[in-house]
């Protein structure tokens, strides 16, 4: 499929007139979660090998993130499967599970950015369906 055919397919299937709703979705291909809280155009900033945060081009505020390595996180935090079995998991649980594995004294990760992202996920009541990972 050439570029123009691809563009027409994308635009035909993307509902541009639909009202935006925040979402978080698990991507099986990339083993990552895409979390978008606001519809603004954004640029990305890689926090570490796991988390990339999105900042609004308009307001510069954090409006979303990509969280990678979800299968690995589930292996390292097996108790998470209890939450997953009960239905969509609150995103801030996953982020806390990630941050709690770290020793803050070693500061391997940007704790401030993680905390901001956790706050955003809580404020958005972001949940993601990971049931396929434990089925």
């Amino acid at each position: 499929m050439n570029a123009e055919e691809f563009a027409q397919l994308v635009l035909a299937q993307s509902d541009l007139e639909k009202d935006f709703a925040p979402f978080s979705v698990y991507d099986h291909d990339g083993d990552c979660i895409e979390f978008i809280a606001k519809p603004d155009a954004y640029f990305a900033e890689r926090v570490d090998g796991i988390v990339t945060v999105y900042y609004s081009e308009e307001s510069n505020e954090m409006i979303g993130a990509q969280i990678k390595g979800i299968k690995s996180l589930m292996r390292q935090s097996p108790g998470l499967s209890i939450e997953v079995h009960d239905g969509p998991v609150r995103l801030h649980f996953l982020l806390r599970a990630r941050i709690w594995r770290e020793d803050p004294k070693l500061a391997k990760i940007s704790v401030i950015k993680y905390k901001k992202l956790i706050s955003l996920a809580e404020a958005s009541d972001a949940k993601v369906d990971l049931h396929s990972l434990v089925a």
Binding site: R46, Y54, G69, R75
Partner: protein
């Protein structure tokens, strides 16, 4: 940043053509020979752009443009922590324009670069604008700091 030919990466990305149900094929540059091969985009990604005209047009236009005209292709986007992504690919490029939140095409800031990420089976799973590194390379911040394994184009 180490540069190596695609053949020396030890990666097997398969033949030129790819097809999978519920995935759209799109042309991209094959780092082996600079000619075209097919990569895949999940059709479920299309609907995720609903209510965000800029996001739909970014996927519709910026993604295929960078796949066909990358300024560089990197291999190995993440390693360690039980993860094996040493053959995943990052296409980096500078599209002619980007899209504002309302979907209007606007000029690209010079300090931004567009990246499209693919898994080892050549499935596009992510794309985004990032700030460029301060070293004048035009590549994303940290490209030469362990973020990628090698540059293959």
């Amino acid at each position: 940043m180490e540069e190596m030919s695609a053949e020396k990466t030890g990666c097997q990305w398969g033949g030129k053509d790819k097809a999978r149900r519920f995935y759209a094929p799109v042309d991209a540059i094959d780092p082996h020979d600079g000619k075209l091969w097919t990569v895949l985009v999940a059709e479920s990604k299309f609907k995720q752009q609903a209510g965000r005209p800029w996001a739909a047009r970014t996927l519709a236009y910026n993604v295929p443009e960078v796949l066909r005209s990358p300024s560089a292709i990197f291999v190995g986007v993440r390693e360690g922590e039980e993860l094996d992504e040493r053959c995943w690919l990052a296409y980096v490029g500078n599209p002619g324009h980007r899209y504002a939140s309302n979907g209007d095409a606007i000029p690209c800031p010079q300090d931004r670069v567009f990246i499209v990420y693919l898994t080892a089976d050549r499935t596009v799973y992510s794309w985004r604008w990032e700030k460029v590194d301060a070293d004048g390379s035009g590549f994303p911040i940290g490209y030469d700091d362990g973020r990628y394994r090698a540059k293959v184009l």
